[in-house]
Symmetry: C3
Subunit: 154 residues, 3 copies
């Protein structure tokens, strides 16, 4: 039985969700770049103060933490704390042969809550709303890991 | 030959170790949440100072770095520097068909040293003890990557 | 059809690139350790000020941010923002059965630009040069994710 195969509909669901989540991680890097260029600041390395195409008027204040840029970095860190774990646990979930609708609900659900978390964090909604989307995403990953252990060990 | 299959005992070892390590990453996020709520501080975003269910008495000092909360974030960062690499290298290791006892020693060994690292970091043991567990975990990942390259290229 | 198999030349390319990238992530951790020991500073945890084998002459200044050490941590963060996404998208790319030369160009290309990014960041080259290598690596990952979605959905 070969489940990690594009002809398996559950694997296909995983591949779609995983590819979208990989794009989400990369997008967050570009959001940081966009914000750094837009405000011409929030740089992280001393050499970024050199005059050049990116930085036309260097100024030591450009190295200070700027919430507009740092927000995107915090969103990125939150992605890194959640998405790689999802990417791996999703693959293992396929390997224990779940029902298609279970995989669809959990994996597309994870994609939806992570994009919701992105929108909520970017627009500075309250901690309560942000925490709600974080929690749902986290519980989906935890559920998948426990389901996998249960399938293998029981 | 299909090695990435739950009927392969080496893959089963990987799935168990990987699911536990995914839970470890998620747990660390919840430890940060628990510590933020317990001390009512160590928040990272300015909007977390809004009055609400989570934050009943907002105070600008709640945005200052707090070692109790930041320790959990550092533990999380250390996880992210080590565990995703393990999760991927472990899968590739299964694909080069190692002996079962080798996989068990390395993968369950990694799980043990990462939980030891967690305990040592949380209880503020010396740098020497923490570094020892970090080193063993890191060397396990490096060994697996070298073993894989050797199997494929030699 | 079982593509995630060492007898598939495309999977072999992925395994080689992925194992090298895992070693790159781990190497970055050791570069931080080397730099902390060399300058005897840049420590992150208060307990690292305890006298011991690692720290023979404790001094509160050892906890201050030091660019020599922090540079390696920033390089590590940049790795974590890019490499785990590559590791997963590369595996999915194999599963949609691309041409061998496409996989070789993209995957070995990614390895090359990440090592170039490492060299440029470590030697403090200009933001423009560093950004160029970051961009190429990021676009490779984005291309692979879009190619996968296209293959599966079209």
């Amino acid at each position: 039985m070969n489940l990690l195969n594009i002809e398996n509909p559950v694997f296909e669901v995983y591949v779609i969700a995983a590819a979208i989540m990989v794009l989400k991680i990369m997008l967050q890097g570009w959001m940081t770049v966009y914000r750094m260029l837009k405000i011409d600041g929030g740089y992280a390395s001393p050499e970024d103060l050199q005059k050049g195409l990116i930085n036309k008027e260097p100024n030591p204040e450009q190295l200070e933490v700027n919430d507009y840029v740092d927000r995107s970095r915090r969103m990125h860190r939150n992605d890194l704390e959640n998405i790689p774990a999802f990417l791996v646990v999703g693959l293992l979930f396929v390997a224990v042969d779940p029902a298609l609708w279970t995989a669809q609900s959990l994996m597309y659900g994870f994609v939806l809550v992570r994009f919701s978390h992105f929108a909520v964090y970017a627009t500075k909604q309250t901690h309560e709303i942000r925490a709600t989307f974080y929690t749902i995403g986290s519980l989906i990953v935890v559920y998948m890991a426990v389901h996998i252990l249960w399938s293998v060990l029981m």
